[in-house]
């Protein structure tokens, strides 16, 4: 081996090292998904290395030129994959063809065989594409060069013979070793790169994780084995109110003293592997308010698998908890109502688009009323359980409600079958499209009570009729018997005073006068009472009447008295129509008029004005006199029966007249009042309904 060959060998070795460096620079960097363009670039680069190798060949023997292309191309195939290998191979083939000579065919075939072995090895050992052991690399080297030696069979003679004689052995000794060394360097390069990448990825991942933890809407807290806080994220700050600087290294702040034990138990269990999984706890914020959290806990171990602490993930579910509690409470409330109410409730499902109605549920009251148990009716047809609902129409009502969605009242029905006999009232509603509800009540008792009530009313009415009859009998007896006695008193007194006055001393005559006077007063009283008792005894007959006509009639009834007493009565020429009972109205007006005629001042004649005023829907009939007047304090009292303000010596009267007025007017829905000042006359105001046509 000459100096030239040595230099070529060194060059080859350097180029092989360059190959390893290129690989390290461009290839071992990232994951397998390499861009096509970078593959092409590296292919061109590799091709250039191959060309350099080929240009640095050395002559082993005359006609036998030698280089390390087989090592380079094999490793390119093995480490760089298809695209760079094809580019590099094509470039070297072109080069070899350009060089020409007798060994061209052998040279080209050795190029192809080396790349192919590399690519095939790579293909079949995908798993460990870039991590090849020394043994494997050595075997690979032997295989590449066995094929290379075979290719040399294509050398023309005598070069072929020379080659095998001189080069075969050194090739098989050195080239696989070189392949192994360079391959190993590349593998090592790759492994180192990988380590770097892994570290970077790890750093990025852990940074990302830290960001997630930091920004998580869920509180993430970790504790050490003494249960002191190791980490406390922003969500934890937000939920509980403590800054992380306030809590790191201290016991969990949201566990009050009295809960430490319970908390320690949870922690122990977590450390033993019994993690908490979504259980809810009540905790306390910094401001003392309650917060409900959902906790997930897990133990934390270091790389060696030793316990290091634990992790808690806490979700603030206060609002949710409250809503759930409210919902639960509401549910409970309705459930209680449903279970305890007195009305029966049956819930039905309408099946097969209205073909049948089956029981879904019935509340206890419903079961009690109908004498069934929930278990025996669930899922059964209402027609099967209560056969009579069809002929009583309730079934049709249900179907109707189901169709229209409008709730309906099914009136009291007497449900009777072999087992039941009750009166029920149903209200049927549609609850959901295929669900109807009947609320029903056992009204048997109510109906019986109603009947009893009717019976009692009937009896009471009868009794009242009896009483009324008795009352009539009483007044009748007044009319006859009392009057008969009075007549006797009056008659015989008169006869005595007329016929025997000479025989009686003066005092006796005077007393006889008292008897007569008393009789007359009593007669008047009886007449008044009879009249008063008659008011309201006959049914009220409200009709439209001319007030003017009624007033005029009353005046003419009393015309003789008016004339006798030289009184004056003026009536307004026009008065509206009123809605009254004619008899009652006349009675009232007559009594008012009599009242005004009676209570005139002793030195004056009575002067009465009768007129009316319209007040909204009311008419005020006013009877105004110039009489003695009535003191304010008696204005109300004068309408009471038997209420008199003067002695019968001053003014005759029984104290019944104004009571009759009041009673008559009140019966017709009106009212009567008085305005008066003593000595200045009185103004009686009768308020009655105006009749509008």
């Amino acid at each position: 081996m000459g100096r030239e060959a040595l230099i070529a060998l060194i060059n080859n070795a350097a180029l092989l090292i360059t190959l390893a460096v290129v690989y390290g620079l461009f290839y071992a960097r990232s994951s397998p998904s390499r861009q096509f363009s970078s593959q092409v670039i590296s292919g061109l680069f590799l091709g250039m290395i191959t060309l350099a190798v080929m240009l640095n060949s050395w002559q082993l023997a005359p006609g036998v030129v030698f280089d390390t292309r087989s090592v380079v191309l094999g490793l390119i195939g093995l480490y760089f994959g298809l695209v760079p290998s094809l580019i590099a191979a094509s470039m070297s083939i072109a080069m070899r063809m350009f060089m020409g000579g007798g060994g061209t065919l052998a040279g080209i075939s050795s190029i192809i065989s080396s790349v192919s072995v590399g690519l095939l090895w790579r293909h079949f050992l995908k798993e460990r594409r870039t991590r090849h052991s020394i043994v494997e690399l050595y075997l690979f080297g032997i295989l590449v060069h066995v094929f290379m030696l075979l290719c040399m069979l294509l050398l023309p003679s005598p070069s072929r013979e020379t080659f095998y004689a001189v080069a075969a052995l050194p090739v098989m000794l050195i080239y696989p070793a070189a392949t192994t060394v360079v391959g190993w360097a590349m593998t090592a390069q790759s492994a180192r790169r990988r380590g770097e990448i892994a570290e970077r990825v790890l750093a990025a991942t852990s940074k990302r994780l830290a960001t997630i933890v930091k920004n998580s809407p869920i509180a993430i807290v970790s504790l050490d084995l003494e249960y002191r806080v190791r980490s406390w994220n922003e969500a934890a700050e937000k939920i509980f109110g403590w800054k992380s600087s306030e809590v790191i290294g201290k016991p969990l702040p949201y566990i009050p003293e009295n809960m430490r034990e319970e908390h320690a138990r949870i922690n122990e269990e977590t450390l033993r592997g019994l993690s908490v999984h979504g259980k809810r706890f009540v905790r306390f914020r910094k401001d003392g308010s309650e917060v409900v959290v959902k906790l997930f806990s897990a133990p934390i171990r270091n790389e060696k698998g030793d316990l290091e602490g634990m992790l808690g993930i806490l979700e603030d579910v206060t609002a949710q908890h409250k809503a759930e509690a409210a919902l639960k409470e509401s549910e409970l409330r309705f459930r209680r109502l449903y279970m305890n109410m007195n009305a029966g409730i049956a819930i039905y499902k309408v099946t097969n688009s209205g073909e049948d109605v089956v029981f879904l549920d019935m509340n206890p009251a419903g079961c009690k009323i109908t004498g069934v148990t929930k278990e025996e009716i669930l899922g059964r047809s209402v027609r099967g359980v209560f056969p009579k609902v069809v002929e009583l129409g309730l079934y049709d009502t249900m179907i109707e409600v189901w169709k229209t969605g409008r709730s309906k009242h099914h009136p009291v029905m007497n449900y009777r079958d072999g087992k039941l006999d009750l009166r029920v009232e149903n209200f049927v509603y549609r609850n959901r499209p295929d669900e109807i509800v009947a609320v029903f009540e056992d009204v048997t008792k109510r109906e019986l009570t109603l009947q009893e009530l009717e019976r009692r009313v009937w009896y009471r009415t009868k009794e009242l009729e009896e009483v009324n009859k008795e009352l009539e009998a009483f007044t009748y007896s007044m009319a006859h018997d009392l009057k008969a006695h009075l007549r006797a008193i009056n008659g015989f007194s008169k006869i005595i005073s007329d016929r025997y006055s000479e025989l009686i001393p003066e005092e006796g005559t005077r007393y006889l006068g008292f008897i007569l006077k008393a009789g007359e007063d009593m007669s008047e009283l009886i007449t008044g009472l009879l009249e008063y008792s008659k008011v309201g005894r006959s049914p009220l007959n409200l009709e439209i009447h001319s007030l003017k006509e009624i007033v005029d009639e009353c005046v003419s009834t009393l015309s003789s008295r008016i004339e006798e007493e030289y009184a004056s009565v003026q009536t307004a020429s026009e008065m509206p129509n009123v809605y009254v009972d004619r008899t009652l109205m006349k009675r009232a007006v007559i009594n008012l008029l009599q009242n005004s005629l009676t209570y005139h001042k002793p030195e004056e004649r009575a002067a009465v004005k009768i007129y009316s005023e319209r007040r909204g829907e009311w008419v005020h009939l006013i009877v105004e006199d110039n009489g003695i007047g009535i003191s304010q304090k008696f204005h109300k009292r004068i309408f009471n029966i038997f209420q008199r303000l003067h002695s019968s010596e001053d003014f005759p009267g029984s104290g019944i007249g104004l009571a009759i007025v009041k009673k008559s007017i009140t019966l017709m829905g009106g009212d009567v009042s008085v305005q008066s000042v003593p000595g200045e006359g009185a103004k009686f105001i009768v308020k009655i309904k105006e009749a509008r046509l």
Binding site: Y476, A479, D481, K483, A484, R487, G491, K494, E520, S523
Partner: protein, 146 residues
């Protein structure tokens, strides 16, 4: 013409006396037969029992009837008289203290010939007594004899 006979149906002795006294005062001197119950009134009118003898107790020319009577009431007496072929032509004048509508209605429904309310005041009563005599026994022409 024979003197008219009045049948006074009145249970209260004082009323009877007053009535008779008033008749005397106004110069009414006709014979007055007095019965004190509804039953006796009917017996007399129909000539039954102790009034069988028509010679002694002739058919009255005027019946003065009180309504309030013990036993059979005045209304029933009136009803019987006016619903019998034999007696319905006899003029019946109700003389009562009652002004009640019901009483008036029943009496007129039964065909009473007159309804008079007895005034409590004796002087007024005398006027009524006089009117009865004047009208029923003088002016009024009675039914034909049978």
């Amino acid at each position: 013409m024979k003197e008219a006979l009045i049948l006074l149906v009145q249970d209260n002795q004082m009323d009877v006396e007053l009535t008779l006294d008033s008749f005397r005062q106004v110069g009414l001197t006709n014979r007055v037969e007095i019965v004190k119950s509804g039953e006796m009134a009917l017996d007399y009118v129909f000539g039954r029992g102790r009034y069988e003898d028509r010679e002694a107790f002739p058919v009255p020319d005027l019946v003065l009837l009180d309504l309030k009577l013990p036993g059979i009431s005045g209304h029933e007496v009136l009803h019987e008289i006016k619903h019998s072929e034999l007696t319905r032509r006899i003029p019946v004048v109700v003389l009562t203290s009652s002004r009640e509508e019901r009483d008036r209605a029943i009496c007129y429904d039964c065909g009473v010939n007159s309804y008079l309310v007895k005034p409590i005041d004796f002087d007024e009563f005398l006027i009524v007594a006089k009117a009865i005599g004047d009208y029923w026994l003088t002016i009024n022409v009675g039914p034909p004899e049978t």
